[in-house]
Amino acid sequence: MALTDLANPSRFLSFANRAIPWLGGFTVIVLAFGLNQAMSAPNDYQQGDTVKIMYLHVPSAWLSMLAWAVMSVAALGTLVWRHPLADVAAKAAAPIGAAFALLCLITGSLWGRPEWGTYWVWDARLTSELVLFLLYLGVIALWRTVEDPARAARAAAILTLVGAIDLPIIKFSVVWWNTLHQGSSFGLTGSTIYPTMLIPLLIMAVAFTLLFATLHLAAMRNEILRRRVRTQRLMQASTAN
């Protein structure tokens, strides 16, 4: 089966139905292995047990950015090829990306409390992640405000692409802003992580990516089914008169 065959929603649905259980099962296995590895990884000599938060926190941050990248590619699909499946992919990715961004912020806060003595610092990374979260919420709000799905898709696609330009600028500018006001309160200076910690982290990153793929595929399937129900309801309403 060629990859382009998946562009047909019905073929995509049958592919999704077959793929989701396998992908989900694989995700559970890798996630369990990764968590096991993370829990048996050595503690940090300064931070003790709290360093374990890293194995959730860092992959969440990566995935929150990956989800926006997926949305940007889907946005190109929407604007250039007008493909309905690209609309569905973009819409399905937004809440998942927002959830990862929120997870990153929450785990970061919980990690920050014992290590920095505060839940929140206006540090460059925290701020840019918060802005990313706000952009996700804006896109979701746009999806929910426009009634016609095709029009909502095109509006959200433009916002997604502008956001994709803006995100690196925000990231860069807050680094700047931070150095103007205060020194970095925390930095992995010499960010070489020792292999005993790096390998569990990478396994967790793979597990989170698989989790994203599973959730995204399932959310796309649900969205396609939701649209079919919507179309049938509209047809029913128009024939009832």
Binding site: L79, V131, L134, L135, L137, G138, A141, L142, T145, V146, R151, R154, A155, I158, L159, L161, V162, G163, I165, D166, I169, I170, S173, V174, W176, W177, L180
Partner: protein, 222 residues
């Protein structure tokens, strides 16, 4: 070209007449700045320190005011359809409307900023620096706002959504605008570094804004 000039004149006229955003924006700017000492206390030293930040924040909020009507009003009375069908490139039409919006909402703020700065105990060099950063930065606010205005053009109650969509995108402009103003007042950073980046952000938004807004309008109006 004359069509664009006519559009510019028309939008400026609409902006300065009753119901337009020009004077309302300045009034809103004044009210927001007046509220701050009530919230943080009338400590002049503190106000002087956070003055540029307050003025930038107030300008950011004031620039949002007339934005939700920018395309929506034209959409309601049908003139947006005429603009879409005109022979002038839509990107330039959008840019002309953005320029008119900036002339009627951004420019009055810049004129009013030194007077309102007095309320915050800013001294003349600080005010000069602030006006310079406003001149360089407020066009970016308008042209980023164009994108949000175009996306939310056909929505009822688009105003609140517009703010939610646009404000996160203006974060870099705010950061470098305030950074440049503070650098001129208290250092230690040289003024030129954040200021040139502010100019770069404005130039980039002058390009990206009209293209993205025109694309959004084409998609919306199909």
């Amino acid at each position: 070209m004359s069509a664009l000039a006519a559009l510019l004149v028309r939008d400026i006229r609409i902006g300065v007449r009753v119901g337009g955003g020009a004077l309302m924006g300045v009034l809103f700017f004044l009210v927001v700045v007046t509220l701050v000492p009530f919230a943080v206390g009338p400590d002049l030293a503190l106000l002087k320190r956070i003055g540029p930040a307050i003025l930038w924040l107030a300008a950011l909020l004031a620039s949002l005011l007339a934005l939700d009507r920018l395309f929506a009003a034209d959409h309601e009375d049908g003139s947006l359809d005429l603009l879409l069908m005109s022979r002038a490139p839509l990107e330039l039409v959008v840019a002309a409307k953005g320029l008119a919006h900036w002339l009627t909402t951004g420019l009055p703020l810049i004129v009013a900023a030194p007077l309102i700065g007095l309320l915050l105990n800013l001294d003349p060099p600080a005010e000069a620096a602030l006006v310079l950063t406003f001149l360089a930065g407020t066009p970016a606010l308008t042209f980023i706002g164009l994108i949000g205005a175009a996306i939310s053009v056909a929505l009822r109650r688009g105003g609140l959504l517009l703010a939610v969509l646009v404000l996160p995108l203006t974060v870099p402009v705010l950061i470098f605008g305030v950074a440049a103003a503070n650098a001129a007042i208290s250092g230690p950073m040289p003024f030129g570094t954040p200021f040139t980046i502010l100019c770069a952000l404005t130039l980039a938004s002058l390009v990206i804004g009209p293209f993205a807004a025109a694309a959004a309008l084409r998609q919306e109006m199909e």
